[in-house]
């Protein structure tokens, strides 16, 4: 039984937090807790998830107000220490609005809310959320967003591609006008991943009877990565020289 501690940040208006909680705990056996956005992230948290939804009703811009929530200073600190952080949909928007990930999510080119299955292609299979996938592998995962059109200036997009920081792209072209068909990116160190599609809606047979295997690997990757961290942490407690104590 894996009992890796995952914190799910809940903002006013988050609405995929319970789906994420269900998948992480009931399907993959993580030790999951909700973290209200005004509270600190508990010590010993191994990974952080910013779920989808409509924080603050998308007022001003999707993610713009939540980016200033007190919890974001903890998210920023943990992100800089290498803790795996996954932002899904609105969580991705919060990560870009807070500057933890580059670029911005604009209103879809269609101007409509898009809720549909998409095929993604894995571009970077070495993040904590993709290590059990293969580069080039296709993953069916649905999108559900109104502001999902990834945009960054040309230099930033070039750097993302060159640095291997595009994690997922839409297999069949930019469904919503995203530049370069980008569906998910990571930070320089690869530990912070933001993606518009919803893996928690695709990782069970009940919600994805056609092919839930690939999306499951996103969570299996985290489990494998977090277990490795625990082993390293145990080594540290046992008197080893390597590793930093986690807060």
């Amino acid at each position: 039984m894996r009992l890796v501690k995952v914190g799910i940040v809940v903002f006013p208006g988050s609405n995929c937090d319970r789906d994420m909680h269900h998948v992480l705990r009931d399907v993959f056996g993580f030790d999951v807790q909700y973290v209200w956005h005004t509270k600190p992230i508990p010590a010993g948290t191994d990974a952080v998830v910013l779920p989808g939804g409509f924080s603050y009703g998308d007022r001003l811009r999707a993610g713009a107000i939540a980016a200033h929530s007190p919890v974001m200073s903890d998210v920023r600190r943990l992100a800089s220490k290498g803790t795996p952080v996954l932002g899904v949909c609105n969580g991705f928007q919060v990560l870009t609005e807070s500057g933890i990930l580059p670029g911005a999510l604009l209103v879809n080119e269609s101007l409509g809310f898009m809720c549909q299955w998409t095929d993604l292609v894995v571009e970077n299979a070495s993040t904590p959320f993709t290590s059990m996938l293969r580069a080039g592998q296709r993953i069916p995962i649905p999108i559900a967003n109104g502001e999902g059109r990834y945009y960054a200036d040309e230099d930033t997009v070039r750097d993302l591609w060159r640095g291997g920081r595009v994690v997922f792209r839409y297999a069949d072209g930019p469904v919503n006008g995203s530049v370069g068909g980008i569906a998910g990116i990571c930070n320089d160190d690869g530990n912070v991943v933001g993606m518009m599609p919803h893996p928690e809606r695709a990782a069970e047979y009940e919600t994805n009877p056609a092919d839930c295997g690939p999306a499951r690997m996103i969570f299996e990757s985290l489990a494998g990565c977090a277990s490795a961290q625990q082993i390293s942490h145990a080594g540290y407690i046992g008197g080893g020289e390597r590793g930093e104590a986690r807060s």
Partner: protein, 111 residues
């Protein structure tokens, strides 16, 4: 202490040049410049001289949508009001500098 005058500060946030604005483009292409409307549906749009848009009158060539915030600000003068509002806009990212530009103007509030 003197009472500071009230200003109405308008903050207009729009996409930077070069970034597409599908809503503005649609309004222009599919409404303003649309050919073939019959009279019951507005017909041709005429200016004050009776010229149809696109003939001798003014011609609309671009439409950009924007978000506008109107703030009521007590300040010593208009310049300070604009400066202070700009600071707030920058610090709290009321506009996203990656994709948007902002235009800020102040005028004395009416009593």
């Amino acid at each position: 202490m003197a009472i500071m005058p009230g200003f109405v500060v308008t903050v207009v946030i729009e996409n930077k040049q070069g970034l597409s604005d599908p809503e503005g483009e649609t309004i222009l292409r599919d409404l303003v410049l649309k050919e073939g409307r019959d009279e019951a549906n507005g017909g041709g749009v005429r200016d004050n001289d009776g010229n149809e848009n696109g003939s001798d009158g003014c011609r609309i060539s671009e439409i950009k949508t924007a978000k506008m915030l109107r703030m009521t600000v007590d300040s010593q003068d208009a310049e300070s009001a604009v400066r202070d509002v700009r600071k707030v806009c920058d610090a709290l990212h009321l506009y996203n500098p990656i994709v948007s530009s902002v235009d800020i103007a102040a005028e004395l509030a009416r009593e």
